[in-house]
């Protein structure tokens, strides 16, 4: 939890952007889960789950780790 910021009379110029090359990473978890060729098969099964099911559940981890990574990498710039 960030401490409440001091009352700023005007928006700080340094923060007036959220551009970062790291944001491009976000495309990975948008594109990869939408390619059926990766997951539309039965084999190999893991714990009885066909690939179709376990791999799509694994994409959840891909999404979480990417958004977490981008958040951490872009957070420090200009002291947030």
């Amino acid at each position: 939890m960030a401490a409440p910021e001091p009352e700023a009379p005007s928006p700080a110029r340094s923060r007036a952007t959220d551009r970062s090359p790291w944001n491009w990473l976000l495309f990975i978890p948008i594109v990869v889960p939408l390619i059926p060729a990766f997951f539309n098969a039965d084999a190999p099964r893991i714990f009885g789950f066909p690939r179709f099911y376990w791999l799509q559940l694994v994409w959840i981890l891909l999404g979480v780790s990417t958004t977490t990574l981008v958040y951490q990498l872009t957070k420090k710039r200009g002291d947030r």
């Binding site: 700023a8 928006p11 059926p36 099911y53 999404g63 958040y71």
Partner: protein
């Protein structure tokens, strides 16, 4: 066949007790994090714009993953197999997709005191007409969604044998439940669903984790569950089902997942949840934490296969000869678990319907108040009047939703919800792209909206389902052969409609710019899209005087 309520007494008692508990919480919520003055839309409709990470996680999670989802997605898997699993990629791609977009929306809304997406569109494009269209689209798309939450409760009540012979007797429990819901939403506003969401989501997580550990153990392991489903789909005549996708429904699967993801955060109730958060950080952290619900949804979806393996049969539907597949999850728990645990499950589903229904009715009420009432009825409405109109409207919206379920065939609400997803997508150029660019001309956006709506409605009208004998509005999978392609592939209607929308908006923008048609004044500045908690607001406090002073002509 017709189990009576006597056999389900334990379930009914547990269900009722938990229901009464959350109702009490709903009323107490008015005092939770209480503001000095509740008579302001920021307080009643957005919980004071003060929710931190945890509350936002429970609130938005409870808002997006509705009771209907928890009942209908496994029902879809039960009936069609792999195609129903689209809900998983859908709820994966959504978060990276809106990671940056929602922060911009939050910032600009924070600076200008926007409560609804239409508020933003009005200021950005200086067009009350475009804002009105966005508001009406939002209200029309949300109404059937609220009604569908009742379908979730109804599936549970039906399984418990709480039915009656007349339409009124059958619906009495739902009417009572919604009356209580309406009363505490009226009193506590967004704080009520925020508080109840804690109970709802905790119950759901516990129930599902127990179910996905215990049921496979009982049914011979995951492998045999999938094999049982595979065996069922092998013998059905339908060509599209199976535990994997086939060559013809992959495009539909992908476009439906992507299109639904684009649409989700255009729904007014999603935006309400986001705007209620305290700062940009809360939103970004939630984009990483909300997929926990996607995992839950994936496991819930697989309950459909467990129902197949356990040979669960759905209860009969409203019409003779039809079956209500929405009852398979309640039936599965009724068959496999002791009464008290099934009761907790039913309560989780029932309470799960209340959270989104409350937020949706608040969101629809806010749209009416801000973009219809304040715009066209009473331009000088005070914040207290705004809050009051919203409270009353939220009641009207709920009465409407109940009436939909009691007097119309529930199938009608399901059809409308299908249309709702397609039409809300038509606000994408104005709301989502509008956050990034003001390149589009306001006139072109209106024309694009109209073209997208027309295209979407025409396509939905063409979709038939031979299996159920429905000739129109039978689904969102549009056969590409209708466009003259020699293929059996289908595509999600919403994607095509929004592409038409964008094409028209882009072309007409070029035309209108060339013709130098007036384009209004953008009331937002580039800085507004990065403002954070603590930054000065353009419209400080309850008085929005600066706004009306800046726009002398409408």
């Amino acid at each position: 066949m017709s189990a009576t309520w006597h056999d389900h007494l334990t379930e009914i008692i547990i269900f009722t007790l938990l229901f009464l508990l959350v109702s009490a919480m709903g009323f107490v919520a008015a005092r939770w994090r209480a503001p000095r003055d509740m008579a302001h839309l920021d307080e009643w409709g957005l919980g004071g714009r003060s929710f931190g990470g945890w509350i936002t996680w429970f609130l938005v999670g409870g808002d997006l993953y509705t009771a209907y989802t928890f009942v209908a997605v496994p029902a879809l898997i039960f009936g069609a197999g792999a195609a129903g699993f689209f809900a998983v990629p859908y709820t994966i791609v959504i978060y990276p997709l809106v990671f940056l977009v929602l922060c911009r929306l939050w910032s600009v809304s924070h600076r200008h005191g926007f409560v609804t997406p239409a508020d933003f569109v009005r200021s950005r494009f200086d067009s009350p007409i475009l804002a009105l269209l966005v508001a009406i689209t939002g209200i029309v798309a949300t109404m059937p969604y609220i009604a569908l939450q009742l379908v979730g409760i109804e599936a549970v009540l039906k399984t418990m044998g709480v039915t009656g012979d007349s339409a009124l007797a059958r619906h009495l429990p739902i009417i009572i439940a919604f009356a209580i819901l309406a009363a505490y939403t009226y009193q506590s506003g967004l704080r009520a669903p925020a508080l109840i969401a804690f109970v709802k989501d905790s119950l759901i997580y516990v129930v599902i984790l127990v179910a996905v550990v215990y049921l496979p153990h009982k049914l011979g392991g995951w492998g045999s569950i999938f094999d049982a489903a595979d065996a069922k789909f092998q013998v059905t005549p339908a060509p599209g089902d199976g535990i994997l996708l086939n060559a013809n429904n992959q495009l539909q699967y992908v476009t439906l997942a992507f299109g639904s993801a684009l649409a989700l955060f255009l729904y007014p109730h999603s935006i309400t949840g986001v705007l209620a958060s305290r700062n940009r950080d809360v939103i970004k952290r939630n984009m990483s934490a909300l997929p926990a619900y996607s995992l839950l949804l994936g496991l819930i979806a697989l309950l459909g296969y467990m129902a197949i393996a356990a040979k669960v049969t759905p209860l009969p539907g409203a019409k003779a000869g039809s079956v209500d597949t929405n009852t398979i999850v309640p039936r599965l728990f009724d068959q496999q678990f002791p009464g008290w645990f099934a009761g907790i499950t039913y309560a989780a589903i029932g309470i799960g319907a209340l959270v989104p229904a409350a937020i949706m009715s608040i969101a629809a009420a806010n749209l009416f108040t801000r973009n219809i009432y304040k715009e066209y009825v009473r331009r000088d409405a005070t914040p207290a009047q705004e809050a009051n109109v919203s409270k009353v409207t939220s009641l009207v919206v709920k009465v409407g939703a109940v009436a939909c379920i009691v007097f119309l065939d529930p199938q009608f609400s399901i059809d409308l919800q299908l249309i709702g997803g397609v039409i809300i997508l038509q606000t994408l150029p104005a709301v989502a792209l509008g956050l990034y660019t003001r390149w589009f001309h306001r006139g072109a956006l209106i024309a694009g909206w109209a073209a997208g709506m027309a295209m979407g409605m025409w396509m939905l009208y063409q979709v038939a389902n031979p299996a159920t004998g429905k000739k129109h509005f039978a689904g969102s999978a549009f056969p590409l052969s209708e466009f003259g392609f020699d293929t059996k592939k289908t595509i999600y209607v919403g994607i095509v409609a929004v592409l038409v929308n964008l094409a028209v908006a882009a072309l007409l923008t070029l035309v209108l710019r060339a013709a130098r048609v007036a384009d209004g004044v953008d009331a937002t500045t580039p800085d507004d899209y990065f403002a954070d908690e603590g930054d000065a607001r353009v419209t400080p406090g309850p008085d929005r005087g600066a706004d009306s002073a800046r726009e002398p002509v409408a």
